[in-house]
């Protein structure tokens, strides 16, 4: 049972999902909030630029959405591959 093909597929689906989430995670924090801040500096937000907003508000909001999206998606993948808890 441990090495069944469906378990391997389940695991690769999980890895794909984690990778996508972590790319967004990196863009929201290291990207727009820090290293790519000059790129979005033209977009004004309340007396400063988008990068500042990402650094003090936006990144945290993105993290929240990511964790809930991941939880929702994984819980449905569990059912789809029949590995959910009864």
């Amino acid at each position: 049972m441990a090495d069944s093909p469906s378990n391997n597929e389940y695991w690769s689906a999980n890895i794909r999902l984690v990778t996508i989430c972590l790319v967004i995670w990196a863009f929201a924090s290291f990207g727009f909030a820090i290293l790519l801040r000059p790129l979005v500096s033209g977009i004004a937000v309340g007396g400063t630029d988008l990068g500042f907003w990402f650094a003090q508000q936006g990144s945290i909001l993105v993290f929240l959405v990511l964790i809930f999206f991941y939880a929702w998606r994984m819980n449905s993948l569990d059912k789809q591959f029949g590995v959910d808890e009864e």
Partner: protein, 594 residues
């Protein structure tokens, strides 16, 4: 009723609540003591995790940290929340599925090695002890500041309070107390913030107020309709300070952020909170809820920082930066109150009867001094903690709000201390006594051992906090660096790789542990003893400060573990099966009754 009496009533009421919970939530088994019987609702666990995570530093110091450097210290906001994304996707659900009680237990079983388990115990104890000293000291300071007892007495009262509910209830008692503590601390933090945001911008949500425009009729020559941050930038540049929204060094900022994120994800006292929920699916949701409750404070903190900084400037310059500064006799009452504590201090250096606050070390500051006959910054002491502590008074809120801040600060310190003490004591009773010293111990015996370990841990933490080693500040950097360099990579590889074997894991953990310690010791002194540092900060390797070293230690851990594992034997089949079973949620219920 005077303020101290009011503070006593609020703090006393909150303590009575914690004791009530402790008696209600006594632990009757090791499963209850270590993991609250794995029956905690994911939302409740999220709330407890938020209190567990947010310490006196988050509650009292963070807004000030941000206020003094503006944009650059946003790294604390991102670093201390972004780690939860890593924890939710890379660690928490799998460790919950594994279904044991401690972090070293997973390391020991997955890497089929007692040595690996003991190295993990050492990492855990160093990380958690460092942290707990800071929390106990913080609780002592909070007591002395609000209740006017001396800090030694305050510290001992705090230890006794924690002892009652942690020893009696273990994880179960701690969980429900943390929920109560979260409610106290978030209310205390939010109320003054909402009022200040309303006064300055008219927006009741501080996180939105931060990006709103100024209200009419504010003092200090502030133009209505200008965005708050633009106003703050303007005032600060006029006074010779750096612009609030300016970037200094993006690469170092990114590295420090990463260091805090990985460190957060690797902190054992937070990880074990996810062992308390019934199912793997709950562990995933629970990480999200934890971040919701953390975000309520973390989205507010930057607003508190910026608004309090603005308020301090307009207090010092009531007629605008071009006009006269505040006269010594006109300083507000709250200013005088806090001057007594030594957190604020003024000195009329040029004897003009006014207090000029500016940055004397800058070009703009020098020009200002030249033009107005100033002889230096006259706000000589300006402790960053004042921004949160004095917030209710600055906003002219009633005394009960100040009392609430006292109860909130103590709740933040106590909840984190309890979580850390549990991580330490369960590691001693479960990973050392049960696993190494006396494997034949009965369930009842282990529960007693866990309680005794808890008492010993509290006594030791109290003693260390009473005589804090001079290096407490530096060791906090060590705790984060170690969590990032030792536990996080090892746990992650244990789940995501079937190739990493016991030799690789031990070598990797030691590489992370030793390189991090070495880097800190080289620049801060051997075991932080002053005067023994071999190098100074101008000689940082690639200019990397000691606080930023975590990710480098983590990379060393990964690389060493990879090469050593590939050069040595394959992982045994039964361990590969264990990894497979950790990866899928099915069967987590069965793991409860082991």
């Amino acid at each position: 009723m005077d303020q101290t009496t009011l503070n006593f009533i609020f703090v006393g009421a909150s303590f009575a609540l914690y004791f009530g919970i402790a008696i209600w939530a006594r632990a009757g088994s090791t499963s209850e003591f270590y993991a609250a019987g794995r029956g905690v609702n994911p939302v409740v666990n999220g709330m407890a995790t938020a209190a567990d995570w947010m310490s006196a530093a988050s509650f009292i110091s963070m807004a000030g940290l941000i206020a003094f450097t503006g944009y650059n210290n946003s790294l604390f906001l991102m670093g201390w929340t972004g780690g939860y994304v890593l924890m939710a996707m890379l660690l928490a659900p799998y460790l919950r599925k594994f279904g044991k009680f401690t972090v070293p237990e997973f390391v020991g079983d997955r890497f089929y090695s007692q040595t690996a388990r003991i190295v993990a115990v050492v990492c855990l104890i160093v990380i958690s002890t460092t942290y707990v000293i800071g929390q106990m000291t913080g609780a002592g300071v909070a007591f002395s500041r609000f209740l006017e007892v001396d800090s030694t007495t305050g510290l001992i009262i705090a230890s006794c309070v924690v002892a009652v509910y942690a020893v009696l209830g273990g994880m179960k008692g701690i969980t429900y107390t943390q929920v109560a503590q979260y409610c106290v601390l978030i209310i205390a933090y939010t109320i003054p913030a909402v009022f200040i945001s309303l006064q300055l911008t008219g927006n009741p949500i501080p996180g939105l107020g931060l990006f709103s425009s100024m209200q009419d009729g504010l003092p200090g020559g502030i133009e209505a309709g200008t965005p708050l941050l633009a106003t703050l930038d303007g005032l600060l540049t006029d006074l010779g300070f750096n612009e609030y929204t300016a970037t200094t060094n993006p690469w170092l900022m990114a590295l420090y952020t990463l260091s805090l994120m990985i460190g957060t994800a690797g902190l054992p006292h937070v990880i074990i909170r996810f062992f308390t929920v019934p199912k793997v699916a709950d562990a995933r949701w629970s990480a999200g809820w934890a971040l919701v409750f953390i975000a309520l404070l973390y989205l507010t903190a930057p607003a508190v920082g910026a608004m309090a900084r603005l308020n301090i400037i307009t207090t010092m310059w009531p007629n605008g930066v071009e006009g006269d500064a505040v006269a010594v006799d006109d300083l507000p009452d709250w200013f005088r109150t806090w001057e007594v504590t030594g957190l604020l201090g003024v000195e009329d250096l040029n004897g003009d009867g006014m207090i000029q606050y500016y940055n004397a070390g800058s070009e703009a500051g020098a020009a200002l001094a030249e033009a107005n006959g100033l002889e230096g910054n006259e706000l000589v002491t300006f402790n960053r903690d004042i921004l949160v502590l004095a917030n209710p008074e600055i906003a002219q809120l009633p005394g009960w709000v100040i009392a609430l801040i006292a109860a909130g600060g103590l709740a933040a310190a106590l909840s984190t201390a309890a979580g850390l003490l549990l991580a330490i004591s369960s590691s001693i009773s479960h990973d050392l006594i049960k696993s190494v010293i006396n494997p034949g111990i009965t369930e009842k015996g282990e529960l007693l051992a866990a309680r005794i370990s808890m008492i010993v841990a509290i006594v030791l933490a109290t003693l260390l906090a009473l005589n804090p080693p001079g290096f407490v500040a530096q060791t906090v950097a060590l705790a984060f660096g170690l969590a990032a360099a030792s536990l996080f990579p090892t746990l992650m590889m244990g789940i995501f790789s079937k190739r990493i074997n016991s030799k690789g894991a031990v070598a990797g953990m030691l590489a992370g542990l030793i390189s991090t310690c070495l880097y800190l010791f080289l620049y801060l002194g051997w075991f932080f003893i002053p005067g023994t540092a071999l190098l100074d900060s101008s000689q940082y390797l690639f200019g990397i400060p000691t606080t930023h070293f975590g990710p480098i230690g983590a990379v060393l851990n990964f690389v060493v573990a990879y090469f050593v594992s590939n050069a040595t034997e394959e992982v045994p089949q039964e361990i590969q099966d264990l990894v497979e079973s950790v990866r899928i949620p099915r069967g987590a219920g069965a793991a409860v009754d082991h």
